[in-house]
Assembly symmetry: C2
Homo-oligomer: 395 residues x 2
Amino acid sequence: MSVAAGREFLAIPGPTVMPDAVLQAMQRPAIDIYAGPAVALTDGLLRDLSTIFGTAGKTYIYAANGHGAWEAALTNVLSRGDKVLVLESGRFAIGWGDAAKMLGAEVEVLPGDFRRAVRPEAVEARLRKDAKGEIKALLVAQIDTASGVVNDIEAIGAAVRAAGHDALLMVDTVASLGCVPFAMDAWGVDVAMAGSQKGLMTPPGLGFTAAGPRARAAHKKAGMRTPYWDWTFRDGEVHYHKYCGTPPEHLLFGLRAALDMILAEGLENVFARHRLLAEATRRAVDVWSEGQAIAFNISEPDERCDTVTAVVTTGGESAQPLVDYCAQKCGVVLGRALGKSEGRGFRIAHMGHVNAPMILGTLGVVEMGLAALGIPHGKNGAAAAVEYLAKAVPA
Amino acid sequence: MSVAAGREFLAIPGPTVMPDAVLQAMQRPAIDIYAGPAVALTDGLLRDLSTIFGTAGKTYIYAANGHGAWEAALTNVLSRGDKVLVLESGRFAIGWGDAAKMLGAEVEVLPGDFRRAVRPEAVEARLRKDAKGEIKALLVAQIDTASGVVNDIEAIGAAVRAAGHDALLMVDTVASLGCVPFAMDAWGVDVAMAGSQKGLMTPPGLGFTAAGPRARAAHKKAGMRTPYWDWTFRDGEVHYHKYCGTPPEHLLFGLRAALDMILAEGLENVFARHRLLAEATRRAVDVWSEGQAIAFNISEPDERCDTVTAVVTTGGESAQPLVDYCAQKCGVVLGRALGKSEGRGFRIAHMGHVNAPMILGTLGVVEMGLAALGIPHGKNGAAAAVEYLAKAVPA
């Protein structure tokens, strides 16, 4: 038996569900790349991305994925030999640090726990010890999709200032931008980067960086700069230069449609929707956890992020049978566990173009799987999600 | 009066006309990036791209545009301080050399003429003088869309071997791949790069590199390598690594549809179609040139390429009124002149998803413009194209 036919739900944390309007916006011929509507398209996208990053600084769009945007962020502000402090809290800041190392930076990891957020006080303490100011930049992910953590970037920014340290604060917002609040300028973030394929609901292939004034000053003496990623080259008035070559037009058409949807809903409403659907998911997982076979990866409730919920098996068992059941029998593709919980967990994304039926349906499917596979779990987790949402969303 | 309503023809040399099947192939949800159909999609694309490059070597797909693929090609085989010889024949090899310079290479330009192809004997002579083998790589474009030239890569490869020189031969095939013959291995090319948006009929945003055995050997000691472009990182079996992060899925769906069309038509047939439509265009320009107000940019007939025809005004007049007439009154967007003829010429692309009505229609429109604007020209250029094609394509 199978109840999988019907629209498959891709519940992995990116690429996410693409709105029809976004896909349809890409259904058109290419346009001239030197003049005409393409120029206004770019100007509007850059303006709206700056709004979403929360910065009065400039934003850059790359034909690249998130790893490309990592490289863009690093090469524009660092020189070989610069020391970089990676704030560990999952997998992705470590990966960004690995990229920095290959590019010639000296990388130190401020050790973290795969089940906890970065502790701002640990950041402050480490920076206070760096009396010579050897650390040139901090790398941190706002949300890490592998661990399911959200880091308090505002508090980390305050910690940097409390330590009286000059290091650039560089933030990976790939899994958070357009889903949860991010206030680059207000929080003292110097460089932020993101990709198109998560909260921004656009097919993968676009990377973004945003640069604050301290980043621009560092850029002037950065030795890692390369032609493709270079901000200065992209700063001019020539449209073709803004992408260092041919603009990825169809992805830009899609991004335009996606940003229109986000701005029409209103950023605060988008954030609230993510918060409610994430909390509904957590209510279900809370109930299931009573069976003691599965648990949240992130141990502290207020460190669990609003875009993906990472669940681990408590005894180290493989979660693959559950993932397979959901995909093959029900048409829900869950995220596999990554990083330190690889092979022994699963992830439910609630990110981007998601609403109540998508998330409640997914929770129902996971509960079907737990029951069908005889995995011990508290009953009526999905019902708890319904109950929570009914109260949170009054008639 | 205007006869512009109707389907606009984008006659710029890339992005080119996107086949409906390519756009429609992108009209689908994202898929899992770690397993399932995405893996087979990648394997098939890499195999078919290697076929089109004419290599038994490996091919790499990047979320990037052509400038990104330039950087990928350079960083994978060079070290800072390496000497690179740029074979000038238009604009793009120079641009590629500028990128090499910013990346830390020492760049020498073998001077060329904006109206001529690279002379293989000049390459051989320069390499013979390099007794110490200081030159590590040659950079050349097979077709330069700014000048409209085609370089004889086979002869340049033979010249390198005749000089007994070890330099890597690196070829930009952005404006030629999938349009004219290219035989990477047979011609002794070590590194080739391309983009999605010209002959490969796919929206911009994908870059490609192909690596032969001598390039792979150079790669092992290359000091410019960076995480995003690195071949070694992309060589493993992990699907996610093949794109250094999230695959640009929708562009890959489009590319799959485009390669299916190219392979179904047959590469030799695709090349023949380009040759015929290019020659038809040249027949028309030949006739128009009798008025002595406009001329081919490339002076030697057999150095004119089969993907774009660059036309210049003989007296240095602006061609903008003609470009504007064609766009605004007729719905044909011609390419502006680039490089040394900037502002005083136009380009007609005949590249990718183009057929007889598209090209004959465009030639008719240009002839309308010449007449309407009173630009002296030989009459019945478009008719000459029809006559040529009627003979070349018997019933």
